[in-house]
Each structure stands twice: as C-alpha cells, then as structure tokens.
C-alpha cells in the first residue's frame, strides 16, 4: 500500500513538473536572483594547495549591467576596485594608481586566484536568452526537491555550450549548477547553500565554485550581508569613482 502511495506521488510530481514550463521556472528563479539593485558584503575563500586565503569585498549593483566592487581585506587587496559596465571591466589598483581595462585573454584569468574567471563574472545576459531549457527530471539534494534543468545554448557566442541547473522546486533558487564543454565534458561545478529569505525573496548566500579540471578544493563565496533596493548614487558606476 505504501508503495502505491509513493509511486502515485511520484507520478503527480512528474505531472506537475511537466506542467511547469522550464522557461517559467527560470523566470521565477530570475525573480529571486536578480533585482533592481543590491548592495552586499561577501567573503571569498580560496582553497589553494598551500592553505587558503579569504578576501572580503563590498559590491554595489544595478540590474545586471552595472556593478562595482571594492575589496576590503586582506591589506594587499584593500582598495582594489572593479567596475563593470555592460561588457566592459576595469580594475583599479591603488598601489599603482592605475585603472586597467581587463579585456581579451585577460578576462580568462582567474579572479583573485579563485576558480572563477573574470569572464565567468562578466556574462550578464539572461540565461533564457542564451539557452533553451528543458526539465530533465527531478532529484533530491540535501532534503530539498529539485528540478534538473538542462540548458543547451541557442546562440553561438556563449562560453559554456551546456549547463545543468538543479532548482529548488519550492523556493525557486538554484542549488547546484554544472557547466559543460561542447563535447559534454564537465568543466565547472558550483553548489549553493545557506538559502535565506530577504525582503520576500529566497537567496543563496554561499556558493562553492570548482574548476573540475584543476586540482584543489575550489572557492567558497559567502554573502555576509545583502540589501536589496537601496539607493545607490549613480557616480559609483563611473571610472572616476574607481580612483576615489
């Protein structure tokens, strides 16, 4: 009897899953994840072979197009600022008093030695614009039921031809993501956790990134405080602000 109930439940959830259009799921995720603007402080712990380093920073962003980050610690990185406008990225280094545009091959460099490249941070186009998504089953991750979305690129100029995203089917936040090469080889993996509710939206506050081809334990990204819908002065998103 019990078994029947379980399988019934499974069928129902499957039906439900099909009913949910993959694009709609992504849209709901988007509502959670993106915002008019936000200000957050974060720590990034890079687990290297010879010990780990933690970098703290404060970021401001408006929509997906404008972002400004200032590094707070350690002392060496303090005052380093990063400005992203559309698809351009500048870094200001206080020790040299230089603002340098990160472009071309430099975008492929890792951010502060992490498993994340500048380029990974740069692509701000909506997933739904780049990929056609299909729901590919459901899985349970750490007690949460998720949909497994498979995203296949529908435009050519994307870094990853395929993504797999596990989305919490109650809270509409991603819990896990895998990035694949065209050949299907797994390149990067990220796992989200510490999901909290702020201003009525669910938001993951910790992410572990891992470059699957490289040795090491990956990079842990934690949001220590986050505020949505703040008033951010427009001048912050200018190159002049980098030098201040």
């Amino acid at each position: 009897m019990k078994r029947i109930v379980y399988s019934l439940l499974a069928i129902i959830s499957f039906l439900d899953l099909n009913a949910q259009n993959a694009d709609e799921i992504l849209k709901k995720v988007d509502q959670n994840m993106s915002s008019e603007n936000r200000v957050f402080e974060s720590t990034m712990t890079i687990n290297g072979k010879r010990g780990s380093r933690t970098i703290t920073s404060k970021s401001y962003s408006i929509g997906d197009k404008k972002a400004f980050t200032e590094y707070l610690s350690p002392a060496r990185e303090q005052g380093t600022k990063m400005l992203k406008l559309e698809n351009q990225l500048w870094i200001y280094s206080p020790s040299t008093d230089r603002t340098i545009q990160i472009s071309g091959h430099m975008l492929r460099q890792s951010v502060m030695g992490s498993d994340l490249s500048y380029e990974d941070m740069m692509d701000d186009r909506k997933l739904t614009d780049l990929y056609s998504a299909t729901v590919n089953g459901s899985e349970n991750i750490d007690g949460r039921n998720t949909w497994v979305l498979e995203l296949n690129a529908k435009v050519t100029d994307v870094a990853y031809a395929k993504r797999k995203i596990w989305i919490d089917n109650e809270r509409y936040v991603p819990l896990r993501e895998e990035l694949f090469a065209k050949s299907g080889q797994l390149l990067k993996q990220s796992a989200m956790g510490n999901i909290i509710k702020i201003d009525g939206r669910w938001f993951p506050t910790s992410i572990v990134y891992k470059d699957m081809l490289k040795q090491g334990d990956g990079t842990e990204f934690k949001i220590t405080s986050i505020k949505f819908n703040q008033v951010i002065p427009e001048y912050i998103f200018t190159k002049a602000a980098l030098k201040k």
């Binding site: 890079i46 290297g48 072979k49 010879r50 380093r53 970098i55 060496r76 990185e77 870094i91 280094s93 020790s95 040299t96 008093d97 230089r98 603002t99 340098i100 545009q101 430099m106 460099q109 890792s110 951010v111 502060m112 030695g113 992490s114």
Partner: protein
C-alpha cells in the same frame, strides 16, 4: 759547470736568445690555447648556468617537477632561512635568488589609460645588494641598448624589441600585471631604466628584468623565491664538487619531506646537460694533447736548429781538444737551461694572457659582422685557467727542446777532427 754554461748563455745572445724566444713563444701559445679551449668549451655550460640553471639550484620538489612552467605558487617560502642554512653549509658557494614570472606589461598614456600592452616573461634577480654578481653574470651592462641599469627600487629593464613594440623609452612608467603566488592579479609600477638585448628572438620579443625585491613585492612573494641558484668558487661548474654538494645537501634537507621541501639540483641534471659536461672533459684532454704534440714537434725542431746553428762553434771546441762527450753533455745541459727558462717565461706569459682573457675576455663582436651582442649571446670569449696550465708547458718546453738537442748533438760524434779545419776554413 752550470754556472759557466749559464754565463755563456747569457753573454752569447745568439746561442740563447733565439731558442729561448722560440721556446717561450711556443709554451705561451700552448698554455694560452689550453686556457682558451677550456674557456670556450665550458662557455656553453656557463652560459646556461648563468642564465638559468646555476651550478646547483635549490627549489621545492613540486617546483622542480614543473620547472618549465616557472610555477611560483610552488615557490620556496621562508627563503631567507633556507639561504642562511645554505650559506652556512656551503660558505664557498655564491647563492643567488631568482624569481621567474610571466605577466603583461601595460603602458599608460597621459590619462593613465592603456596605450599599449604586451605579454612578458620576467626574471627577478638581485641587482642592488652589495656584492651581488647577478648583473655581471647576465652581462647586463654590455647588453644594454638604451638607458641605464636599474639603480634603485622600482626600475625595470625591458628587452629592446619589446620596448619598441610597446613604444616606451627609458624613464617611462609601465605597469606589470602579473599573478601573485596565491593567483590574484597583481599590479606594480615600474620606471623603465633601460633596454637590453638578449640575442635570442624569443627572449627579445618580451622579456623584463627587475630587482627581486620589487618582484617579491609585486607578486606578493614576501620572503619567497622561485629558485636559489648557487655558483661554485672560481666561477666554473665542477662535477666532482657538485657531487659533494649534492651529498651534503641530502644531509642538510634530511627530515624535510613533502611536496614543498627543498631539493638540490645540479647543473648536469638540468636541461639535459650531462653529455655535454662529459664532453667538455674529454675534449679538453684531446685538444691539449694535440697542442702538446704540435708544440713538441716544433720545439724538437728548434732543438735541431739550435744544434745546427752552433755547428761551427762546436767544430772549434772539438778542434781545440774538448772531449766530444763533454761538448755533448754541455749542449744538453744548456738546452735544459734554455728549456726551463723558456718554459717559465712562456708559462708566465701564457698564464698572464689567459688571466687577461679570463678576467676581461675578448670582444669578438668586432669579428662577427652585424652579430648581435646580448645576454644570451655574449660578445666576450673568455679563457679559463686550470691547474694543469701551470705545468703543462714543461713537457714540450723542456723535454722536446732537450730531445731535439740530443738528436742533433749525435752529429758531434760523427765529426772527424781531421776534417774540422777544412770545414772551418770556409
């Protein structure tokens, strides 16, 4: 007798001077040639040692495994301690720290925006410490094309071609964009002190040289170095000494295990140089042998000539009743004196010339039309004095001269007293 002969030799210039000159010149040439051959034979090795391998090199095991990538994330930490240890255990070896790194050189315009940018390979070495031989080792002063060598912190040398590609002159400011040990992007400003030529297209295209302290600051490598290279006293690689150093270092590093424990590499283990190291030894011997043989023949001939030169004199001596054996012995003894004196003069001159060539070198850029002088292509050829140079000249100088005299002297016994006056009349 010796005194008498010596007097004769000194007073009669024709009897002594020319043979002496010949012996001296011959020995000079042999000694000099040997030093020269040794010099150019080891030059290739020493060039590699100076630029890259050192005579011995200390790095971490992990770094050594990936040495071609110059992996600074695997560099030696707490380097000053390790250097103290090394200096303590091997006081004769000249230790030098180097950091090899890759990065970009970014040139700003008036507004501080990027004007030009190019990928660079870099070497950080000790340019400023008193007693540091690094600048000399890399022949930096001679390889300078424009500007000066760095004289203070924050100065950098660019390869000439690179500086032209970027459009920078000495005095300009450039920013090094590199990667810290931890992998963060690193920025560091340098003032271009000057430009150098390497004489190797690859290096000339994009290489920078700066003081190691600047590089440590730039790449967040406080008290960390990529490689510690050691140079043997006398400045030449020596396989036997390397063997001893290796054995000692094993004891020194005992108990240090793990990926980042220090490891000692000798020159012969690096860059596949072992065959060449062996070759320099055998080639040196072969060439010395050839020279000795040639010189022996020349001096033998000089001995024969010396005998002939004094044909008349000996005739008179026999005619006035000197015993043939006595004449013969005195001639041989004289030739020993000439040989010894000539060899001493020749060896001293040869050593002096070799010393000059060892210390100052000979600039061959004069001979090579439009050849480039550079760090990787030194314009100087240098000699190398080795212990055998001090005695090697005696074999041809004395032995061959004496043999020559002895052979030519045999004629003395063949001469008939009755005919002597007839001969002398002429």
């Amino acid at each position: 007798m010796i005194r008498f002969l010596l007097k004769g030799l000194i007073r009669d210039k024709s009897r002594s001077l020319l043979p002496l000159i010949v012996v001296a010149i011959g020995v000079t040439l042999v000694v000099f040639a040997r030093g020269y051959i040794n010099g150019i034979m080891v030059d290739m090795i020493e060039q590699t040692a100076r630029f890259n391998t050192g005579h011995v090199k200390v790095t971490t095991k992990a770094y050594a495994d990936n040495i071609n990538q110059a992996p600074n994330d695997l560099a030696i930490l707490d380097a000053s301690n390790l250097i103290l240890k090394l200096e303590d255990t091997f006081p004769d070896i000249d230790w030098a720290c180097r950091i090899k790194f890759g990065g970009l050189i970014d040139v700003p315009d008036e507004q501080g925006e990027t004007k030009s940018q190019g990928p660079a390979m870099g070497i950080g070495l000790d340019l400023f410490s008193t007693g540091s031989k690094e600048a000399l080792r890399l022949n930096l002063a001679k390889s300078l094309v424009r500007g000066n060598l760095p004289t203070k912190e924050g100065e950098i040398l660019l390869s000439e071609d690179f500086s032209q590609k970027l459009g920078v002159n000495s005095g300009d400011m450039v920013t090094l964009i590199g990667s810290t040990m931890g992998g963060s992007m690193a920025f560091y400003n340098f003032s271009v002190a000057g430009t150098v030529r390497f004489g190797n297209t690859g290096l000339d295209r994009g290489t920078v040289i700066a003081d190691i302290r600047d590089i440590q600051l730039a790449l967040d490598m406080t008290d960390a170095v990529g490689e510690i290279i050691g140079f043997f006293p006398g400045g030449y690689y020596n396989d036997e000494l390397a063997e001893i150093v290796m054995a000692k270092s094993e004891k020194l590093f005992v108990g240090e295990t793990g990926e980042y424990s220090p490891v000692m590499l000798r020159l012969r283990d690096q860059e596949g140089l072992s065959l060449y190291v062996d070759l320099t030894k055998s080639m040196g011997t072969i060439i010395t042998f050839i020279f000795m043989l040639a010189m022996s023949l020349v001096l033998w001939n000089a001995g024969l000539l010396g005998g002939l030169r004094r044909y008349g004199e000996i005739g008179v001596r026999i005619a006035i009743g000197e015993e043939k054996g006595h004449v013969y012995r005195s001639m041989v003894l004289e030739s020993v004196m000439v040989g010894v004196a000539g060899t001493i003069i020749g060896t001293s001159t040869g050593l002096f010339l070799s010393w000059l060539m060892q210390t100052y070198g000979l600039d061959i850029s004069e001979f090579t039309k439009n050849a480039t002088t550079g760090i990787m292509m030194p314009n100087l050829v240098r000699s190398r004095i080795t212990p055998p140079d001090f005695y090697i000249g005696f074999i041809p100088g004395v032995v061959s001269t004496v043999i020559g005299t002895m052979l030519s002297g045999i004629g003395i016994y063949k001469r008939k007293t009755a005919q002597l006056f007839k001969e002398l009349e002429a």
